[in-house]
């Protein structure tokens, strides 16, 4: 499939894609990207904690963050925006995020086939060497193979 559109730019796209809906409600924003990876951040918020009074972000918003970063990593790797659907997403929780800490999510698209995209990533609260969670996922193109 050829396209006259400029290649997908996660920085510019984030301004639009993360403004509305679920990602907008969570307040996700763009941090950085490379040829096949994207890092987003999720600011801490009292109404997103997982255990009342703990001050620790719930796991749900971290799954949302990693799902979004994964999708954007795939569009960055392929260079084009097209509809994709998450098929399978696994999250291993290494440790709780620190109290009051924002969480960053970095996802890498490490393999692309005609209709599937494989991603892996991690969530951290400041030090990527000491992650909060590890993630692996598979996404499918909606509407058939490219």
């Amino acid at each position: 499939m050829t396209s006259d559109l400029p290649p997908f730019d996660p920085d510019a796209a984030a301004a639009l894609m993360l403004r509305h809906g679920h990602p907008g409600w969570l307040g996700m924003h763009y941090v950085a990207h490379g040829p096949d990876w994207v890092e987003l951040a999720l600011p801490w918020r009292e109404d997103l904690v997982g255990e009342t009074g703990s001050g620790i972000l719930a796991t749900g918003p971290i799954v949302s963050l990693m799902d979004m970063a994964s999708g954007m990593a795939i569009w960055t790797a392929t260079g084009e925006f097209r509809a994709i659907a998450t098929l399978d997403l696994r999250v291993d929780y290494m440790r709780p995020a620190r109290k009051g800490a924002a969480v960053n999510g970095r996802a890498e698209c490490y393999r692309l086939t005609r209709s599937a995209a494989f991603v892996r990533g991690l969530a951290h609260d400041g030090d990527p060497e000491d992650p909060v969670a590890h993630v692996a996922g598979v996404f499918m193109a909606i509407g058939g193979a490219r």
Binding site: W25, V49, G50, A58, G60, D67
Partner: protein, 141 residues
Amino acid sequence: MSDAALLAALERDLPAYARSLGIAIDSIEGGSPVLVVPFGEIVEGRPTVFHGGATSGLLENAGYAALRAALAREGRQQRLKPINVTVQFLSAAKSRATYARGRVLRLGRRNAHIEVEAWQDDRARPVATAVMNVLMAPADA
């Protein structure tokens, strides 16, 4: 514990995140809670479709609610710590309420394994499923 009392207790135990997302305990079926989340902008991904992260949030909370109900039946009070979750997305969850119910397949002393299904109109056709492993620590730890 009566179903009504269990429902009230589980509703109280819902974390801030679950309440913010609009999750509520819909009913108790065979001693196990059914959770519901209405469709709205805060759960929306692609237009008119649930974001996978919102569906995952519902599944995880249904898993924890099922586990809390199982622990309550045994008179146990424990802190729950997530080990992992794997979510399978089977079909797009459209712009209407989504329900979820978990089944505790193993309840050990230190860990539990839970299977969760989410559905919309037809319970026989789940929109997403999850498997979760949860660590249980003493309530005072």
